[in-house]
């Protein structure tokens, strides 16, 4: 069976709009605002209906120019790995600090994308991040909390 993915996305958007609309009706407004011509829930309610309208139209109208994506040719593995590295980066940055996590993030990304020139990989991660950190911290005066550098006495 041929499944039209654009229609599936439209259906998901329709469901999302319905949920959005339901949540919009649940927004608590002040009692004196309840019957006002415009309150905090008015605009979201219109948006919810607009979402239902456009996704509904997309669902029911014929779609002759539908986009066909050849999933076998897509690089899911590397993309998923990069996303995973980014999530791990987000989870560790506050505890470990900017320098080490960012450097490891870059080094790991080069590696998983297939790079094996170790010296270049190193230069474009640790010294590169150190230089960028100096630009942010030293020149632009943007404070970067870094427990790791603090523990080894590099940062005050």
């Amino acid at each position: 069976m041929n499944i039209n993915t654009t229609k599936i996305i439209s259906l998901l958007f329709f469901i999302f709009s319905a949920f959005y609309l339901y949540t919009a009706y649940q927004i608590q407004v002040f009692a004196f605002d309840e019957n006002a011509p415009f309150n905090a829930r008015t605009f979201p309610i219109y948006l919810g209906y607009a979402g239902l309208f456009f996704s509904g139209l997309k669902l029911i109208l014929p779609d002759p120019d539908t986009i066909k994506v050849e999933h076998r040719t897509l690089e899911y593995k590397k993309t998923a790995l990069l996303i995973l590295i980014a999530i791990i980066y987000g989870a560790t940055i506050l505890k470990v600090g900017y320098f080490l996590t960012t450097s490891i993030f870059l080094f790991a990304s080069y590696y998983f994308l297939g790079e094996r020139r170790w010296v270049l990989m190193f230069l474009l991660s640790f010294p590169f991040v150190a230089g960028f950190m100096y630009l942010l911290h030293g020149v632009l005066e943007i404070y970067l909390r870094d427990p790791f550098l603090k523990s080894i006495g590099v940062m005050g």
Binding site: F54, E75, L113
Partner: protein, 500 residues
Amino acid sequence: MTEGILIGLTTALSFQNIFMVMIGCFFGTIIGMLPGLGPMTAIALMIPITYGFDPATGLILMAGVYYGAVFGGSTSSILLNAPGVPGTVATSFDGYPMAQQGKAGKALAIAAWSSFAGGTLSAIYLLFMAPSLSKVSLSFRSPDYFALMILGLTAIAAFSSKGQFLKAMMMVVLGLMLASVGQDSLSDITRFTFDNMNLTDGISFVLVVMSTFAMSEALTIILKRNDPTAAAKQVSLTELGSIRINKEERGKMYRTIPRSSVIGFLIGVLPGAGATIASFLAYGMERNLVKDEEKEKFGKGSVNGLSAPETANNAACSGSFVPMLTLGIPGSGTTAVMLGALLGFGIQPGPRLYMTNPEIFWSVIMSMYIGMVILLILNLPLIPYIARILAVPKNYLIPLILFFSITGIYVMSFNNFDIYLMIGIAVVATFLRLYDFPMPPLILAFVLGGLMEENLRRSLLLSNGSWEFLWDRTLTVCILVTTILIVLWHIYKTFSKKKS
């Protein structure tokens, strides 16, 4: 006005701002040359850096990136037949055949001079048009603004991609929905936060831009196994040929540039239109206007065919600043990003901008001239070398784009929730991109969401909840009729295309 021009010149000619224009042009050229990575990605990556400067400098830097990216797109169109941005597709029609004939240097020079002339002429039009339009726009009321935003969002959806109007409208609604997250501006009631404190202030504009452009662009490249840098490796430094333009070629350009700059500027002013439509229209118009023997050369390396779209796309870039600076309503995705950045600086662009912040208003216009000169003297001789820089392997380019995106978000909030949110939005955006859902309408809607709600609120409160405000004023009616005409034209175009 003279005083304003002098203020603008003084600000734009400061050492720091000239340096920023140079950096912006250079960086923009590099990003613009990479197929798939356009001005929006380049500007998005720059936003966190601009917050380290004052608003005028920040905007000057972004304007430089914008021009550089458009120019960079032309370069890859001519040398590689791989337009970096849609606005430079028409450039490749005659630029690439010229390069294949061993005249790549000449094609680059024609493109550079045409861009320079188009940008400079349209900056002059902007100089005279913007203050007058600002005065006119002072008479705009909330219903007019609300109608104008509907027009802008409908137009960007109608012009975004062929036959994808409904998809673009869905993206508009999604952008408005994302903008509605957080505290209501008047009552401070939280909406769609699901008791998460991190969402109380809403979703950051920079986060949405970074995730839907820079990060999702990088993920799309990996997912589709594209290599934007592969084409750059083919560029040979020795095969570019001379960059000199002879008298006959100059004569052709003198006729093409003025008319293409006018059409480019006017199209750029229209909400939603922009460089792509301007360049195609200018190309088509030029083909109709030249003599029959020149007409034969179109598509085979015509000077007019190269000069017209190049002039028009740069003129359209300047034109797109008009609605942003005078009405506070961006006409394109790129200027929407700039508007969002300005709002981040605490500055509200609009009709009063040139009275309240003349240094910003005028310095941006003045920096356009400087940007054009810098593009010409810096980029033209350096293009082959910049093209070589682009031969950086994809394995390094993608992690660096991800690095700049994530760092940009982290240094703005120091909060890992924003990193997770960014990854989430980027994954959804990557998936939507696969199925041709356009992202610029989402950004424009996200930027306009707050303003739109505010103007609708005022209109409804003043009319006591009645929707009569939509037809109470002639101006509102005119704007809404234009919106309806755009939709009808789009429907007609879709059905006539299907019939044929």
